[in-house]
């Protein structure tokens, strides 16, 4: 014990003399925690120093004590704390050198859980009394704020007992604070004061003043700011304080009005957002007095703004103001402030609506719409005031442009009212006239009017009760007429959209009116032009979203295919393809129900049957359009989209039927059963139908098991390696790959791949083999399948691909193959087809293989190098931007090399890869600027248009580099760009003009 106290004395001595710092504190803390001595003994040991006549010595003494306390405030007893607090409170009156340490100690003490009652109040009283916070240093100020926060959290009720004195003390200590870190703390305290119901007493205005003097906050953090405080944080922290209580209203609102006059954009925006925030807290009586002033400022912001953000913030503020006013409960003696406000708005905006040519129509309409969205009452009032005059104007104006503007304004008013839930729509009174306006506009010949009126019609349709049964029918008639008669692509697009939206809500009218009419039109023979039929087909696809409609529309489209096949309908090839696209669209948008699933389940056999019939006939002379490759390829997505969405029972059924058709020639499930019994679909003559098989089996959900898998894979491999028809062998390879991708891992799969790889290698290795391309295609697709699922064998396959880059025949194909490997293919092996696609497989492939590529490039002879460059640019092109940026420095020399490679494909691909990177240039690029500028400028005179365009885009992107970096090149670039300005292609000229203007 005696040894301990001697040790303690020694420690204290050393610390106070300044020989030891951290170590003394640590030792003391350690011993204290271990219970070897008490805090009392420490104080006793310090005794002499604490009463020394030298302030420095006293300071060191207190510092040691405070540091120890910071570490072990949890171990103190209540009595010790009490004594220490009295001591520290006394020390606050001491010399200024000691104060920082005293505050540190107090901070530690406030964290004690055993803080005796009453001491919080006494600490605060002495703090507020004895020190002037703003004359302390940054760290000490922060300490004081932390004490306040700590006490507010642990001793809330005691502090509230202090009453307004606490607020006053806070106001005094914060007044003049300038450091953003401390401001955040101060705002935090102020927020607690405001939100947790501290008594503000007569200091409301003072508290407001001391915080609002920072409003609006203008703070730009220093470069490489270590504290990471943003303007945004400060703005939000302050906003919460200012908008916290309605008692600030009388001070805040004038301030906002004043700040709205500011020329600084961010100040305006902040003011508007603060207004929006406080309007959702305030009540009408807080606002009433300031309404005229607020309105004048808001109106000015919306009417004359140059920035969309200010405008939308202004509109939001108007909206919340209205909502706030509408919430208020009226007393019998007060006037209705909502009415007063709306009166103001209407007075200023209404007359602008009568001048549909002038600029202010739009801001006025937006303001009125913002108020009417805010509440039911407001919308009632605004609609009653505005709609009659708009409707009347529409009927009296004759110019199309004016009528169109009016319609658009009307549409704006129709949308917002959706917010009124249980009340019946405000627009009900105007239903009749709105409908008649829409229908009259639909029968106009002006395209813009038609389009706008269709939008209005859609908006009306979204609301319950605005379109009666008869109106819907009339609308459908109009839409049908427009489909048949209007050739303008913009109008047809709008018709299709509108019909699609309405059909979702009112399918019955479309089934009874539109579908039969369109069907009649499609089959009416050569009277109508092809374009009309095209539109009919597109419209049919658009309306088919409900099962009932799908049931009506798909048979029509299938019938088109049948009649095209038999040759009775005189449908051209493009029409057949567009019918296929429409079917695919229906399959995509149809709601996923048992019913639609059933419909499409029937579609697959019919399509297969048609294709098979066509294929069989094809060999006997008659040529059906279904036989065309383009049509077959268009049919694939129909089947695949359907299969991907089938429920598992139907999916399993479909799979087994399709497989037995293709393997065994089982035709029993096909409609119009008139096929020869022994057909072999995977043999040469009908082999291109294998793409349909691919669409079917590769897109099934992974849970569905494909029957006879081994045999199927064998046949597919055989087909893909022997057939000489490109579509057939590619589809077979894809189908094979799709199945391999989904099959469960294990020895079976490994041996299968081994076998295939051997076969491929033998074909590829014999230079004279006639099927090298086929073998390569299979290799490519299988590598992709394995790469996607991170299969360990994929490396063997991709290595094979790399080695092919120097192959004289297949080198180019292999280089292009990398683009296929890295990009998503639309028809197989993507997420939509439930394939096993791991995330980030691209990055993985890149990191594993970029070195090989570079090595290969360096080793290759001059003529072969371009293949490597091409492969590289394909790979880099498909990487996510983040990876591109990090990898770029290493690859840059190669890419720049690629720019001077004579192959134009490589040039385009490299340029398009560089361009997005240039938009946000990494520093590695800047050092290479000289070369980059030189190479790209040289390419602007390339003979190929695409290269010229891509290089001009890169130069455009270069203009955003830091000013001082590109300055030296400016004259050179401007001179060089003069040439493409006179290019003989307009597209090139416009790119050049854009780029040159930027420079």
């Amino acid at each position: 014990m005696a040894a301990d106290s001697a040790l303690l004395l020694g420690l204290v001595e050393e610390f106070v003399l300044g020989q030891q710092d951290r170590k003394a504190v640590d030792t003391a803390t350690g011993k204290l925690k271990a219970g070897q001595f008490t805090i009392l003994q420490l104080v006793e040991a310090l005794g002499l120093h604490l009463t020394s006549s030298q302030p420095q010595t006293r300071g060191r003494g207190v510092q040691l004590l405070s540091n120890v306390l910071q570490e072990c405030y949890g171990d103190l007893t209540e009595r010790e704390v009490k004594v220490l607090i009295v001591f520290y409170e006394n020390r606050l009156k001491d010399h200024y050198v000691i104060t920082p340490h005293v505050i540190q100690g107090l901070k530690a003490l406030t964290k004690c859980s055993v803080l005796p009652p009453g001491s919080a109040v006494s600490i605060l009283k002495s703090l507020f009394q004895d020190i002037h916070v703003q004359s302390l240093m940054l760290a000490e100020r922060s300490c004081v704020y932390n004490i306040l926060i700590q006490l507010m959290e642990s001793r809330e009720s005691e502090l509230k007992g202090l009453g307004a004195d606490f607020v006053f003390g806070f106001v005094q200590s914060v007044d003049g604070e300038r450091d953003p870190r401390n401001l955040l703390l101060a705002f935090h305290i102020a927020r607690k004061i405001v939100h947790e119901g501290y008594d503000l007493g007569k200091f409301t205005e003072e508290l407001f003043e001391v915080t609002s003097c920072y409003f609006p906050i203008d703070f730009s953090p220093p470069a490489n700011d270590p504290h990471g405080i943003t303007q945004e944080e400060l703005v939000l922290a302050l906003r919460v304080v200012l908008t916290g209580t309605p008692r600030f209203a009388e001070f805040l609102l004038p301030l906002i009005i004043e700040k709205l006059d500011s020329d600084v954009q961010s100040a305006k925006l902040d003011s508007l957002q603060t207004l929006t925030a406080c309007a959702s807290v305030y009540e009408h009586k807080d606002l009433a007095q300031f309404l005229p002033g607020l309105w004048a400022s808001l109106r000015r912001e919306v009417f004359q703004t140059a920035s969309e953000r200010v405008e939308s913030a202004g509109l939001a503020a108007v909206g919340t103001l209205t909502a706030c006013l509408s919430r208020s409960v009226l007393n019998s003696d007060s006037e209705d402030s909502l009415n007063v406000f709306l009166e103001l708005v209407l007075k200023d905006c209404q007359h602008h609506l009568c001048e549909p040519d002038l600029k202010l129509v739009w801001p006025s309409a937006k303001l009125l719409q913002a108020t009417s969205t805010a509440s039911y009452r407001a919308s009632h009032r605004v609609a009653a005031a505005v709609l009659p005059s708009l409707i009347e104007q529409y009927n009296s104006r004759t110019q199309c442009a004016q009528r169109r503007t009016l319609l658009e304004v009307l549409q704006g008013f129709v949308h917002p009212v959706t917010s009124s839930e249980e009340d019946e729509s405000v627009l009900l009174d105007f239903r009749q006239s709105l409908c008649s306006i829409v229908f009259s506009a639909l029968s106009e010949s002006n395209a813009d009017l038609q389009i706008t009126s269709m939008r209005l019609l859609t908006a009306l349709g979204q609301q319950t009760g605005l379109l009666l049964e008869s109106d819907v029918e009339l609308a459908v008639d109009h839409l049908t007429r427009l489909i048949l008669e209007e050739g303008d692509p913009k109008v047809s697009l709008a018709v299709v959209e509108c019909a699609g939206a309405l059909a979702r809500l009112h399918p019955a009218a479309f089934i009874s009116k539109m579908v039969p009419r369109l069907k009649e039109e499609i089959f009416s023979g050569g009277l109508r032009s092809k374009a009309v039929r095209q539109r009919c087909v597109a419209a049919l696809a658009a309306v088919s979203s409900r099962p009932s409609l799908v049931q009506e529309s798909t048979p029509v489209l299938l019938q088109v295919l049948t009649s095209a096949h038999t040759g009775t309908g005189a449908f051209s090839l493009e029409e057949v393809i567009s019918v296929c696209h429409s079917l695919q669209k229906i399959a995509e948008q149809a709601q996923d129900t048992e019913e639609t699933g059933g419909v499409f389940h029937d579609v697959i056999p019919r399509l297969l049957g048609l294709a098979l019939q066509a294929a069989l006939q094809g060999s006997s002379g008659h040529c059906s359009p279904i036989l065309e490759e383009t049509v077959l390829s268009a049919m694939v997505p129909i089947i695949s989209t359907t299969c991907a969405r089938l429920q598992s029972r139907l999916a399993g059924q479909t799979a087994s039927l399709a497989v037995s058709l293709f393997l065994d020639g089982d035709v029993s499930f096909l409609p119009e059963n008139a096929f020869p019994t022994q057909i072999q679909l995977l043999k040469v003559s009908q082999s291109q139908m294998v793409c349909l098989l691919m669409g079917c089996v590769c897109w099934l959900p992974r849970t569905v098991e494909v029957p006879q898998m081994d045999r199927l894979l064998l046949e597919l491999e055989e087909l893909s390696c022997t057939c000489d028809h490109p579509l057939s062998y590619t589809s077979a390879a894809k189908c094979y790959a799709g199945l391999v991708n989904k099959s469960p891992a294990g020895e079976v799969l490994d041996s299968l791949i081994d076998r295939t790889l051997k076969r491929i290698s033998t074909e590829l290795d014999s230079a004279s083999s006639p099927v090298r391309t086929q073998a390569f295609t299979l290799l490519l697709w299988v590598s992709k399948a394995l790469l996607l699922r991170y299969h360990p064998l994929s490396t063997a396959l991709t290595d094979k691909l790399f080695s092919l880059l120097s192959d004289p025949e297949l080198g180019w194909l292999a280089a292009d193959g990398f683009s296929l490997l890295m990009s998503d293919s639309p028809d197989v092996l993507n997420r939509g087809s439930h394939a096993d696609v791991r995330i980030m497989y691209r990055q993985r492939f890149f990191t594993e293989n970029s070195a090989k590529l570079v090595e290969g490039f360096n080793a290759a002879v001059q003529e072969k190098k371009s293949g490597y460059l091409k492969a590289l640019s394909h790979i880099v092109n498909n990487l996510p931007r983040q990876v591109q940026l990090t990898e770029l420095p290493a690859l840059l020399p190669l890419l720049l090399e690629a720019l001077s490679c004579p192959d134009q494909g490589v040039q385009v691909s490299t340029l398009s890869c560089l361009q997005p990177v240039l938009l946000d240039p990494p520093s590695a690029l800047i050092t290479q600027l000289e070369v980059l500028v030189g190479r790209t400028l040289a390419l602007t005179t390339s003979p190929t248009m695409k290269v010229r365009i891509a290089s001009l885009r890169c130069i455009h992107a270069l203009s955003r580099f830091p000013e001082h970096e590109i300055m030296p090149f400016r004259a050179r670039v401007l001179r060089a760009l003069a040439a493409p300005l006179d290019d003989h292609k307009r597209v090139v000229r416009s790119e050049a003009a854009v780029a040159r203007n930027e420079w």
């Binding site: 709205l260 006059d261 500011s262 020329d263 000015r300 009417f303 004359q304 703004t305 140059a306 920035s307 602008h352 001048e355 040519d357 002038l358 600029k359 202010l360 129509v361 442009a401 190929t944 248009m945 003069a978 300005l981 006179d982 003989h984 292609k985 307009r986 597209v987 000229r989 416009s990 003009a993 854009v994 040159r996 203007n997 930027e998």
Partner: protein
């Protein structure tokens, strides 16, 4: 009204914008030469911003396609613009912006003539004279403040060029 001086013309007439030029098959074809035509010049200048409104010159009907003349063979471009109000003080600035945009975007072989549509501005002759004077245009562009304002007008949606 505070927050900046009151605008000379606070509620101007607004005209509709024309859409993007439609791409034709010829545009894609390498071998067909497209001559520089009225529409191309118009596309260059229609998106220039008005100095005082967040609107383009096209929307204010200051420039119209019918008032653009191009002669590709003779290397001449003529643009007439119509200030929104007869005493518009911005007329010179608008004219200068059009001229600068064309100077930057057209091949050097063209002679560019920008002037006010006859009879639409109070001090038409004075403005026309200023715009036709090469020296004065060059001098104006030496003035960094003026150049800044002109660039502000031209900065617009660069993509539509």
């Amino acid at each position: 009204m505070s927050g900046g001086a009151r605008l000379e013309n606070a509620n101007p007439l607004i005209f509709q914008r024309t859409g993007e030029r439609l791409q034709t098959a010829n545009d894609e074809d390498e071998d067909v030469a497209d001559p520089i035509d009225d529409r191309e010049i118009f596309d260059l200048i229609r998106s220039i911003n008005d100095p005082e409104h967040p609107l383009s010159l096209e929307e204010l009907n200051v420039v119209e396609q019918v008032r653009v003349r191009v002669d590709d063979q003779e290397n001449a471009v003529g643009v007439e613009f119509t200030p929104a109000i007869p005493h518009c003080s911005m007329a010179t600035l608008i004219g200068l912006s059009i001229k600068v945009k064309l100077l930057r975007s057209l091949p050097e072989r063209f002679k560019i003539d920008v002037h006010i549509t006859p009879g639409t501005h109070a001090s038409e002759d004075a403005v026309n004279k200023q715009l036709a004077d090469k020296e004065r245009v060059a001098a104006a562009l030496e003035n960094s403040q003026l150049l800044e304002v002109v660039n502000q007008c031209l900065i617009s949606n660069a993509r539509t060029g």
